[in-house]
């Protein structure tokens, strides 16, 4: 088959890499992912280690000997990471590089550990949204007719529901039931991730359905049908593989949305709970510390910067990916 607009993998990669912005975004995201993965191995103070003598210290990097009890704690929680850290940096650590908060905790360490929550929610919630959205769109598109229309009407209705409000309501009510949930051994954070994903699949469903509607008119589907393939086989073996490009694009655009969603909830005090950290929580703690007496700008600027740059990079990557995959949509 000829490929006039270059939707081959090579063509997409070439167009993607031609944009300087997307290279920059990729590099930035790679760095964030790497830091998050290597968090236990980095020579940083514990993210919840208190240090009253340095409370609200300005950013002033100090290469010092690490606290032994903090190291022991780390070794217990993350043995492999702690071993790697010991091999690379010994007992030394970088403290106070981005300042300290009101309890003397290291802002850089909290940012690095907080990134794990943001990336995790980005991963889990968007996977949940992909599973729901793709199945819904695929079914609605392939079933067509009344059922398909009904399914898309459901999506339309859900679009009109203020889902953010509903999620806040549910999460707040579930918070009260912490003890009840603990009995079922359900992790509150995991529920949060799944709930966020479960309300973020609408656009995916619409996009997939549109694609399915156009794909099912194509000759290869008719051919597969003529050869006696069942409906489910056509869907899974012939249509689904052709959807991945679009799915990847909208997945890239879903990730920043769900990360933002989590930070929004954490900011309101409904997401990650102390002693856990997430970027939204850090941003809200920073704002609380802003008083006329002490202007701890580092508590506001660095979490905000981390969020803005990561989300910006993800958006930019998603946009360039969309343009690269389908140049007709390019803006």
């Amino acid at each position: 088959m000829s490929d006039p607009i270059g939707t081959t993998r090579a063509g997409v990669t070439r167009r993607l890499l031609r944009r300087r912005g997307s290279l920059l975004a990729l590099a930035l995201l790679g760095a964030v992912v790497l830091l998050a993965l290597l968090a236990p191995a980095l020579p940083l103070p514990g993210y919840s280690s208190l240090d009253a003598t340095h409370a609200m210290a300005r950013p002033a990097p100090e290469w010092r000997t690490a606290d032994e009890s903090a190291l022991a704690q780390l070794a217990e929680a993350h043995p492999a990471g702690a071993a790697l850290r010991h091999a690379l940096f010994g007992e030394r650590e970088l403290a106070g590089a981005l300042g300290r908060d009101a309890l003397g905790r290291d802002v850089l360490a909290r940012l690095v550990w907080g990134s794990r929550v943001s990336l995790m929610v980005g991963l889990i919630a968007s996977l949940v949204s992909v599973v729901i959205g793709v199945s819904w769109g695929l079914l609605a598109g392939y079933a067509g007719g009344r059922l398909g229309n009904l399914m898309m009407r459901v999506v339309d209705v859900l679009y009109s529901v203020p889902l953010l409000f509903v999620v806040i309501l549910v999460v707040a009510l579930l918070r009260e039931q912490g003890a009840a949930l603990a009995r079922f051994d359900v992790d509150r954070e995991a529920i949060l991730y799944v709930v966020i994903g479960a309300v973020s699949w609408l656009t995916m469903a619409q996009v997939v359905r549109g694609q399915v509607l156009s794909l099912r008119q194509r000759d290869f589907v008719a051919a597969a049908r003529a050869l006696g393939s069942s409906g489910s086989r056509v869907m899974l073996r012939h249509i689904l593989p052709n959807l991945w490009g679009f799915v990847v694009v909208y997945l890239t655009l879903t990730v920043p949305r769900v990360i933002l969603f989590e930070s929004f909830l954490s900011f309101l005090g409904l997401g990650v709970e102390p002693p856990g950290v997430s970027w939204g929580l850090l941003a809200s703690e920073g704002l609380e510390q802003l008083t006329a007496i002490s202007v701890a700008w580092w508590l506001v600027v660095f979490p905000g910067l981390a969020l803005a740059l990561t989300l910006g990079a993800l958006n930019m990557l998603g946009d360039s990916l969309r343009d690269a995959l389908d140049p007709r949509l390019a803006t």
């Binding site: 912005g21 209705v157 529901v161 409000f165 509903v166 009260e176 039931q177």
Partner: protein, 308 residues
């Protein structure tokens, strides 16, 4: 246009009914209620409270009563603020949130449209690069991050604005910017893309060939078409501004509907929470309808009311 409104009205009513029923059963079915706090309430008092707030009846009866109240525009009493009805609280806080939202939308349009037009008219220059770069970052900027940076700069560094509160126009400036600027970024991108696409059309070449100045073409002909994507973005933008005001009202200690909603969720104040959800749903659906009407007026070729 009347036809569009008529076609959409039953649809809107169905959505409202669904949202009301869905959220009603959601809050009632989640375990734990407004009177189940850490402090153990005496069973007699608890029973009296449930009876006073009409929560001891079977669920179906409660639902029927709640729905009847809604039809009469009555959201019931607040379960937390004694002697306050939800209508009173909404009546006091809705104007505040609406004013804030309107100012934020004004910021979004007043910054976004000129920026988009500037970028489109100086395409591929450094102005274009700058506007597009800033908007890429701006689209992603969470409103609470922006709010923090604004407070840091304009309250603590230069002491231009009061830190928080509500009442004077000066107190509205920072919240409106924090809420509106991310949407200005989207509007700038959409308007620029729309203008560039319009400027490539045949009828623009015709207008130029007839001797119209580039500026005349841009403002007289291209703008009208380029506004279409911006107008259709206004629906989601309004919804976004309203939900963004949840955190912005909190940051700036504004007693709008957003603050009340977050508090009511924390306090399991069902009636207040449901009331706010309903008011937001009505607002968003009505504004979406208004956007569709405006769309039809801008581009008579589009028949929005037609079944999809």
């Amino acid at each position: 246009m009347m036809r569009l409104v008529l076609v959409r009205l039953p649809w809107t009513a169905a959505i409202l009914l669904l949202v009301a029923s869905g959220s009603f059963f959601l809050v009632r079915l989640v375990p734990g209620g407004p009177f189940d706090q850490e402090k153990v309430t005496d069973p007699v008092i608890r029973a009296n409270l449930l009876a006073a707030y009409d929560m001891d009846a079977p669920l179906g009866v409660q639902y029927a009563r709640y729905m009847r109240g809604l039809l009469h525009g009555d959201f019931g009493p607040s379960l937390r603020y004694r002697d306050y009805s939800v209508n009173q609280i909404v009546g006091e806080s809705l104007p505040i949130s609406l004013l804030l939202g309107a100012c934020a939308l004004a910021v979004a349009l007043l910054v976004g449209l000129p920026a988009g037009a500037l970028a489109a008219s100086r395409r591929a220059s450094w102005v274009d690069t700058l506007v597009m770069g800033a908007s890429t970052l701006g689209v992603a900027l969470p409103s609470f991050v922006l709010a923090g940076l604004l407070v840091l700069l304009f309250v603590f560094q230069w002491r231009l604005f009061p830190v928080a509160g509500y009442g004077s126009p000066a107190q509205l400036v920072l919240p409106a910017i924090a809420l509106g600027l991310p949407f200005a970024a989207s509007i700038a991108r959409l308007f620029r893309a729309g203008l560039l696409e319009a400027l490539g059309e045949d009828w623009v070449r015709t207008a130029r060939a007839k001797g119209l100045s580039p500026r005349g073409v841009l403002w007289g002909h291209a703008t009208r078409v380029a506004l279409l994507p911006v107008v259709s973005f206004l629906g989601p933008a309004v919804a976004g501004v309203l939900s963004g005001s949840l955190v912005v009202e909190r940051v700036f200690a504004i007693a709008g509907m957003g603050s009340h909603f977050v508090d009511s969720a924390f306090n399991a104040d069902y009636n207040l929470a449901l009331g706010v959800v309903m008011v937001y749903t009505v607002l968003v659906t009505l504004l979406n309808l208004a956007v569709d009407v405006a769309y039809g007026l801008l581009d008579p070729r589009i028949e929005v009311g037609a079944p999809a």
